[in-house]
Amino acid sequence: MSCDDKCLLVELALDDELDPPGLAEFERHLKECPDCAVAFARQKALKGALRAQLPRHRAPSALVQRIRTALPDLPEVAAPSAEAAQATEPASRTATVVALPAWPPLVTRARVGMALSAIGGALAAGLATIWLMHVTPEERMTQAVVESHVRALMSGRLLDVASDDPKTVRPWFTGRLDVSPPVKDLSAHGYQLVGARLDYVDNKRSAALVYKRNEHVITLYLFSTPNAPVSESDAVVRQGYSVCHWSRHGITDWVVSDVDPDELEAFEDLVTGSV
């Protein structure tokens, strides 16, 4: 791995965003690379200065008091309510109903006027918040694979085993996973196998197979899911990455790439052998 790749890791290391093996590898690199060591020292000094010197503003007590008075029933609201339960349904209509309770009593007339003029925005923000907070397991998993894919690309730790030969890649997982991941050579279809790595996504071990199509990197994550029913999803787009997943024969596959969703589904068909 070149030094340029490692330089990206300086900030990740300081921000506690590297996993323990990544951190250990980075620390080894620091001993060998004066440039990175200097960059690391500087970044660390900057971070220390910012943390030591930037003021942490505390809410003035009069303001806290005002807010406290404005929200007298907060603990009851915080408890799960019928409305909150209703809002777990993804229908936006339900969310709208929840989003329009009476204003808290302290709100003055002037404020109501201002708030009414802003209510479109407030409502949109509220709905967006509700949507953001409504995270299904599928969505959480989608985010997790996108994050893993992006982090692997950024950190340069894309491959544990580099090979375009399925006969090399597949045995590498023996003893590392409780399934033997099927690895296909799809080069005839324009998808070049470049290797694989062992990854840890959403608290689960995964075989991450890496393919390339032109300059696009495709990561295919395989999870052992003995009890998962046969299923497949349409491709969705998150943060510019297409993601889709399917389950069969006790293995769940998640695939993520920056190719178009249609192309990703074509890749899925090749992997599952349905073309």
Binding site: E11, A45, L54, I67, A125
Partner: protein
């Protein structure tokens, strides 16, 4: 929610750069948070509240200062003139700026550098270094992809360093 009011106020203060606006934003955000609590689906209450504070602050600044949400720092109505940071050649510096930064107790100058960052850089820096949020949490608060958070954070740090170099070059030259 109440235990996180300090964090929420602090974030609003850095976003608006003004205690009065921060107070108004926090009050507004608290009302919104209260009204939308039914929409809270678990996770970190603090992250959730900071998201609302951020949305409220941008709406607030847009409507009270005639700026737009995506506008650069100039549009947020700061009184003093802002000029872009000049690039100061390293060799002219009296000594190592990062070392000076580490040792200096010049909080006002550092705040000045932070205030001059454009909002998208200032917010990621504050969320990371003061609120100590992870990249993922910052992504949640700012609605930006994790990769964007990383690159904004890197750029914010570079800008702080160059802003500090400038400060050291100006101040240090006279000492």
């Amino acid at each position: 929610m109440l235990p996180h009011l300090d964090a929420a106020y602090n974030f609003a203060r850095y976003l608006t750069r003004n205690p009065d606006d921060a107070a108004d934003v926090l009050q507004e955000a608290s009302i919104r948070a209260f009204r939308f609590f039914g929409g809270f689906k678990g996770g970190s209450v603090r992250t959730w509240l900071l998201t609302i504070v951020r949305n409220t602050a941008y709406t607030w600044m847009a409507s009270h200062r005639r700026g737009t949400v995506n506008a650069s720092v100039e549009d947020y109505g700061i009184e003093r003139p802002l000029e872009p940071f000049a690039v100061v050649p390293w060799e002219r510096l009296p000594d190592d700026p990062e070392t000076r930064l580490l040792l200096a107790e010049d909080q006002a100058a550092l705040m000045d550098v932070i205030d001059r960052l454009s909002p998208e850089f200032r917010e990621v820096l504050v969320l990371r270094e003061i609120e100590e949020l992870s990249y993922r949490e910052i992504a949640e608060v700012t609605g930006a992809p994790v990769g964007t958070v990383m690159s904004r954070l890197a750029r914010a740090r570079r800008q702080v360093q160059s802003g500090w170099r400038r400060h050291v070059a100006l101040e240090g030259g006279g000492r």
